[in-house]
């Protein structure tokens, strides 16, 4: 059988190129991608990005073509003319300056659009960075309608959301690429960040400023919902924690209240009002545990309680050694907190 000697290599490189292209294309879509915008601001930023990308691509192609022409064209008497050379240089520099000026104009106009004021119907959300989780607080209006949660921000589609960012310890940075760029959370300072979600979905964000051991496991979820669904979620979050329905859940609550848990965590409707760790009033309704470290399910919850340091080494939650039935009851109770 006659096989061309270079065929396997060519086939392999074709396969590699296809894979690379697929990976590159996959990067454009996703729950944490600036190129898959889900909000007005991110759309402007992505539009700017694509404009820069295609312009630069065109410039690259033109410059490469000019270089190839220069390489392969024969030198003539005309090409030695200094006047013609000067004209070419002036033309190229002029085109470069024009393109840079265009970039400046487009970039400033995108920046202005992104920095547009919020308007009256804005939803305020206070986000406080902690090592290594996000405290989310919706200041209620008129009063006593505050919602406190952690690592998960629900927003209504179409309504501007004004994030008020600060930090309780070191500098963090809020980055939800599907909605906006990055903004730092600085202790003692309030930064604001405005975005408008344009389509429903579940998205992921991430701390973008190195903040210590578990910086990489400091993520959050943004859930964009239609306004009615958001309102239902808000009303459900206002309620105190569900009362235990089974003997096991009742025992689980006793375990919670008689252990170190209640010193840092709070559960509304119980005497636990610790403020140093995520509020657990509706913990079972959230998508992830430990700031996006693991999906929120029974196994991960029990494993997290028993030995948080093996999942997220260095975090501030101490291990809880407790008898197996206490752990199961506690898991039952926490899972009932929808």
């Amino acid at each position: 059988m006659k096989v061309p000697a270079r065929a396997p290599f060519a086939r392999a490189s074709a396969r590699g190129a296809t894979a690379l292209a697929l990976i590159a294309a996959a990067g454009c879509r996703g729950i944490q991608s600036a190129l898959d915008p889900a909000g007005r601001e991110a759309s402007r930023i992505a539009g700017l990005w694509w404009f820069l990308f295609w312009t630069c691509t065109a410039v690259f192609v033109v410059v490469t073509a000019a270089l190839l022409v220069a390489l392969f064209r024969r030198r003539t008497a005309q090409s030695a003319d200094p006047k013609r050379g000067r004209a070419l240089i002036v033309g190229a520099v002029g085109a470069t300056a024009a393109i840079l000026l265009l970039f400046l104009i487009v970039s400033v106009s995108a920046g202005r659009a992104v920095a547009e004021p919020a308007g009256p119907n804005v939803l305020r959300v206070q986000v406080t960075g902690h090592q290594w989780w996000w405290e989310i607080h919706y200041p209620g209006t008129p009063d006593n309608r505050d919602v406190v949660t952690a690592n998960e921000i629900h927003v209504p589609v179409g309504r501007p959301v004004l994030l008020e960012l600060t930090s309780a310890d070191v500098i963090h940075s809020f980055w939800a690429p599907n909605f906006h760029g990055k903004k730092d959370l600085i202790p003692g300072l309030k930064n604001t960040h405005l975005f408008r979600a344009e389509r429903p979905g579940v998205f992921r964000g991430q701390c973008a400023e190195f903040c210590g051991l578990e910086h990489a496991k400091m993520a959050f979820t943004i859930v964009a919902d239609p306004p009615e669904k958001f309102d239902r979620w808000y009303e459900s979050q206002l309620l105190p924690a569900a009362e235990p329905a089974t003997p096991s859940e009742t025992h689980g609550r006793d375990v919670f209240l008689s252990s170190p848990c209640m010193f840092c965590h709070s559960i509304k409707g119980t005497p636990a009002f610790g403020m140093e760790a995520p509020d657990l009033t509706h913990v079972a309704s959230r998508h992830t545990l430990a700031a996006g470290t693991v999906p929120n399910n029974r196994g991960n919850l029990a494993g997290w309680i028993a030995d948080p340091q093996s999942m997220k080494p260095g975090n501030h939650m101490p291990p809880m050694a407790m008898p197996g039935d206490d752990l199961l009851a506690l898991t039952d109770y926490l899972e009932s907190l929808k």
Partner: protein
């Protein structure tokens, strides 16, 4: 020349061990150290004093953790930053219930009359030892091995919260 380089390398290596920490600490226990002896009277022949050593004493990382917990668990609510106020001061030489590490541990676990709550089963023992290490480090005659926190006291925690 070689000797000098080896010495420099060795001194650098010892610096790596200055601040030992373990990510996995012992599980919380509700007990207290066996050796705590509150009174000096005892029947029978006098036994040698049995002092418990604090595993974290003088360890800068553990002291800074103790400082964080001192605020988190609201020790500072009564003892303030160690100068006392509602509760007695912790940085002087006068100890009502003993100033040895095991006494401080027992005071935290068991509480004391007239206001000191019992934190039995509420604070894991490893964290109590961190708080004890911090309280021990408050005394004026203790040299501070390194600053207790990565930043100045007034820059840490809570300030961000208040600015909401």
């Amino acid at each position: 020349m070689f000797l000098a380089a080896a010495l420099a390398a060795a001194s650098l290596l010892t610096a790596c061990r200055k601040n030992p920490r373990r990510l996995t600490e012992a599980a919380p226990s509700s007990g207290r150290p066996d050796a705590v002896q509150q009174g000096s009277l005892q029947p029978g022949p006098k036994l040698a004093a049995m002092n418990v050593t604090n595993p974290y004493e003088g360890n800068p990382f553990q002291i800074s953790e103790g400082q964080r917990l001192f605020n988190w668990y609201n020790c500072s609510g009564c003892h303030f930053r160690g100068g006392g106020g509602i509760g007695p001061p912790l940085m002087d030489d006068f100890w009502i219930y003993g100033g040895e590490p095991q006494n401080i541990y027992a005071t935290i676990v068991e509480g004391r009359p007239n206001g000191m709550p019992s934190f039995r089963r509420k604070i894991p023992s490893s964290q109590i030892w961190q708080i004890v290490a911090y309280v021990q480090s408050m005394k004026a005659d203790k040299p501070i091995a390194s600053p207790p926190g990565p930043r100045e006291d007034h820059m840490q925690s809570s300030e961000g919260k208040e600015s909401k």
